[in-house]
Assembly symmetry: C2
Homo-oligomer: 478 residues x 2
């Protein structure tokens, strides 16, 4: 028995001999090879048999005793624990890998797992513009002040100065007047959707979602086990009448009215009013995802839907992912007063709160005016890139489709004449150009064929050659 142990030890390998002996003896107890109640050799003797130092063996005995595999009986020596034989040599079947139904659904929503970079990844901001040095300075200052308040338990609804700063930001940038107490700081827009989906709807509840629509939202809503009702989008945005005829009783309605994802359509005023009327009729919430409405290039900014519902039927969701960096994982929701306390409690139970140090740094960044300046700089830069995209599409792609008009946002949709946008997207990818097919964002029976073109992360001078290559790829499809 113990001789076999001696040969089982790997004296050259990286694993300490004490740990090896512990594992070997533990396995022998668990499998019954060391008989329950049997007395082990004294540590000195075993050390001799195994060719180990006595202290090593004593340490192993102590660990085995602490874990209950042996009992130290003082002068009577060390005894193998008297475990119930029925518990030994347990068959240990491979776990079947059981997921819940919602777990399977959650895992199954395709969402561009590869996360590529380069022209024209949608949704990606100009990461090289991230003010890293300034951010580091602000964070270091907070760390020097490092009060316990920034390290201890999170605040359910968010770091109060950040909630204040966000309220000021949405007032200045989006014309939304909201008390800081109604701001909920979330783990990005995605975290807000995941939380709201559960807070507002139960598994099986119907909810309206735009079709085509944002895959991230679809993932959150599917993950919450909801019954997604795809509602078609036309040139005025979500077709409210179609939604009513499909399901008049949604629990909530998810919309991107400023810059519909992925078509870029801005929802018309009559549609906005009809949407609110439908929501009133169903006593449904409306979740307005204003994911990149801050960037608007032609004319004055469009008022968020939120401003039409002062009594708070509309929950506004925003993010710093598009203007700073997706990996910051900070977003926010503007809640009606009745939802604030439940949402804050839910935040604690889900662990969703962003790190306080990040929240505090962002609060300083906003309060000291850096964000406004940063947004202004980015908007100028993005306007250049957008102009290059519009011009290049006219130059190289006019035989293959039309660019869909959109005044806001960091990506544009190009509608293809070719009905098979997935094949077109694959041809583009083969030529080194990322241009996801619009049809992959379709959930229902909406017919759409096109390509998403994100321009924010592509330098203006790289846009023309990339579009030329895209044009060649589309031509090669004939």
């Amino acid at each position: 028995m113990f001789d076999a142990m001696a040969t089982a030890l790997d004296r050259e390998g990286p694993i300490p001999l004490g740990r090896q002996l512990y594992e070997v003896m533990r396995a022998a107890v668990l499998e019954g090879r060391l008989t329950p109640g049997m007395r082990l050799p004294a540590s000195r003797d075993l050390a001799g048999i195994l060719g180990l130092g006595r202290n090593t063996v004593v340490g192993v005995f102590e660990r085995l005793a602490a874990d209950g595999f042996v009992e130290a009986r003082g002068a009577a020596g060390t005894i193998v624990a008297r475990l119930d034989p029925a518990l030994l040599r347990r068959p240990a079947p491979e776990p079947a890998g059981r997921l819940s139904s919602r777990g399977r659904a959650l895992a199954a929503v395709a969402r561009g797992a590869a996360r590529p970079h380069g022209a024209f990844v949608p949704g990606l901001p100009a990461l090289d513009q991230f003010p890293g040095e300034l951010w580091g300075r602000l964070m270091a200052r907070r760390l020097r002040q490092s009060s316990a308040a920034l390290l201890g338990f999170e605040h359910g609804a968010g770091w109060p100065p950040l909630r204040e700063a966000i309220a000021r930001h949405v007032a200045a940038a989006r014309g939304i007047i909201v008390e800081p107490e109604r701001v909920l700081v979330t783990a990005g827009a995605q975290g807000a959707l995941d939380l709201l989906a559960r807070l507002l709807a139960d598994a099986g509840d119907p909810v309206w979602i735009e079709d085509p629509g944002y895959l991230g939202a679809r993932g959150a809503l599917v993950g919450a086990g909801l019954d997604l009702v795809p509602v078609p989008v036309d040139g005025e945005g979500l077709d409210v009448a179609a939604g009513i005829s499909r399901r008049p009783d949604p629990r909530f309605i998810y919309v991107t009215p400023s810059h519909q994802y992925p078509t870029g359509v801005a929802m018309s005023l009559p549609r906005r009013l009809a949407l609110l009327q439908a929501a009133d009729a169903a006593d449904a919430w409306v979740i307005e995802d204003d994911y990149d409405g801050e960037f608007r290039f032609d004319g004055p900014p469009l008022a968020p839907l939120h401003t039409l519902s002062p009594r708070g039927r509309v929950i506004y969701v925003g993010t710093f992912g598009k203007a700073l960096a997706p990996a910051l994982r900070v977003g926010y929701a503007l809640l009606p007063p009745t939802l604030v306390a439940p949402a804050a409690a839910a935040m604690r139970h889900t662990g969703h709160a962003p790190p306080l140090l990040v929240q505090a740094t962002l609060a300083d960044f906003l309060m000291e005016g850096h964000f406004t300046a940063h947004l202004r700089r980015l908007t100028t830069l993005y306007a250049e890139r957008r102009a290059a995209l519009v011009e290049g599409c006219g130059r190289y792609l006019s035989d293959y489709g039309t660019l869909m008009r959109a005044e806001a946002g960091i990506q544009l949709a190009f509608r293809l004449f070719d009905p098979d946008d997935k094949a077109a997207s694959a041809a583009a990818l083969a030529a080194g150009i990322v241009a996801p097919a619009l049809s992959r964002t379709v959930l229902g029976d909406t017919k759409v064929s096109g390509l998403q073109l994100g321009f924010a992360a592509v330098p203006a001078e790289a846009i023309d050659p990339a579009l030329r290559r895209l044009g060649e790829a589309l031509r090669s499809r004939g």
Copy 2:
């Protein structure tokens, strides 16, 4: 009409006059006071009536036109939009504040909303030991290198170098051998529980939870809509036979075997084996929450349950919240291979990934050996504080109960003779001492009366006087 607008403007207040006029005119359109199709005065004339600059009025007209409230018809002037009268003056009922059933459940789990500080808040580490300056240096270095990889889209399962660093850490600190690919980086232990609860079980599925048990876990499981089966805890940990007799078919089992929360009991080996056997029989997962098992003061560290289930039935959950700071919001789960891809996909849909900058800084902190040194320093400090607590309990509290033995963790439970621990806890709080009642962590019919005493955040010299005050408070209850 327009004269009334002139008087409605607040010319002294902080809100710009243009924004005020926009709001006033918008409301007039929405409520039908400006008749659909009516022609507005020319901007120059309206500026005169209102006593505003013409540019201000032109800007307001442009915004109203962008939002669809008016139409600019060039030489024909500006016309109020012809909105369907049925959409105007909508009644806008107050939303009923509808929450989902799970939302109400999530909001209702009490969890010490106040989050107090001071002696003896359980679960709180020594925040003044947080290595803020070093952390800031490491983070600034990362920000200087600021690669797009740290700013762009998150990795579903975590930043790869951090997963590697965590695999090394659990090998060194807890004797767990696991491939980095099986490490999932989560938003604290709470984020791991919230994710796993949904991934592994559907609403209504039965799951075992320790009774008394950790309220944070209860919040996550209730929030996932699960059927919580409270299983009593005795001196050997969770009573597996009792669990089987209550519900033999849990979908998963939640346990804290190293240092049961809140009693501090370490689960015995026979119980561990019986637990795994019960899990095998039910094809159930086991979630091992090792929330503060890194801190062990007497004898060698206890092996995690995970090491008994090499085929991966046990999912191990750890956190950096107890050794660094809760507000960092970084934890991890060690997954069986079959769960890695679904969990990574689910992470993306829930927005749960910690900010990459935080992940990268933590990876450097671990890889460069700072965490090991920090843990060693903290363990020494906590051992002092723990000794002061044990001594003080003997000195001041021996008439009122007994300290429950526990070799690990950053809090101890004091069992009271008094059956009404909530009243005792209230008396303590009135004397300025936080000592939550054990009974508030009871979900089922387990009888327990005691106080939780967290010592990690209390300087040793403050412990004795705090316990004296606690003793006086208990005496005053008679």
